[in-house]
Symmetry: C2
Subunit: 193 residues, 2 copies
Amino acid sequence: MKEAPTRKEQIEEKATALFKEKGFSATSMRDLATVLGIEAASIYSHIRSKEEILHRICFRMAHEFFQAIDAAEAAGTTAAERLTEAIKAHVQVITKNTEASAVFLNEWRHLSEPSHSEFLSLRDKYEGRFREIVRTGVQNGEFQVPDEKFAALTILSGLNWLHTWYKPSGKMSPNDIAENLSAMLLNGLKINK
Amino acid sequence: MKEAPTRKEQIEEKATALFKEKGFSATSMRDLATVLGIEAASIYSHIRSKEEILHRICFRMAHEFFQAIDAAEAAGTTAAERLTEAIKAHVQVITKNTEASAVFLNEWRHLSEPSHSEFLSLRDKYEGRFREIVRTGVQNGEFQVPDEKFAALTILSGLNWLHTWYKPSGKMSPNDIAENLSAMLLNGLKINK
DNA sequence: CCTACCGATCGGTAGG
DNA sequence: CCTACCGATCGGTAGG
């Protein structure tokens, strides 16, 4: 049973769609008001500023990604298993929140200070979690990579285009997608190994 | 010997940096004028509109990517070789034009019709070139992938984060980077193959 | 949640 | 390339 969303949640939801589609700067409060069926001034009864909406979206998503990887890292024993789980977790967060993920990935630069720096620091910490899994794998002989940071960022960027095309109605389920991505990133394209 | 840039080229160059940093919508013609040391109105002696600048950046980069992959595809005999060359070519275009690449990748959605559709169609054609290499590799037994389109897009997205961190002064050269990316994407992380 | 409105800023033009 | 300016629109506030 889904509870009826509060007005504030409705505002955030519609704003997320607009921010993804047109970008934060190109989305006006009048655009948002039109979609909500109210006047622009009325939005300010529920939120303090346009940036507050962006802030809430970005930091909520950051929180979701951390929660997901916390669970994932506890799951596996080998580095390969933990990386596979981390990939699956990341894919699940994106596929469950495609629009918010797009905003999280593309619009954070419109946060002003100090939120901007805080966001970047969170993102860096999250990347560090992947880096750490890769490092362990290299140390115990499971992985072979040119550079741990480089590898972690390549993996993440290989996951982060998902929001551009994923549709719940598609033929691949989130778990299918995660498996395919893990296979590609862990084993590569080549057949003779 | 580099020729002195025309005013139009200077405008494009400064606009590229601003569009990358602040985004197209959040960049005003006054911002651009300030950087150029002239008045906003004076910019219009050289360009027709703000969008024209974006258009020129996006389509020039599209052209660069196509030129690069044309050369790359002629080079190799096996699919693996051609993919490696295509990756190298793509990396070279990005590392030579980090700011314009960022604009090409992130700001194209602010193009109005019909440019918007034309751009997407070019991008799709470019992705098709990678898809085609992957397909050949699968057909002749070199590659094993879950889905050709999926694989091509994962590869490209694994290359397209480069513009966010590459600096010419860094310790990896563009060729080092290309080799590392090819190794990761073709062979995967795992050591026991 | 609305009406009424604010000062600031936007992309762009006219005319030199 | 500048001065002078346009109408439109922006995020946001006052007061109910």
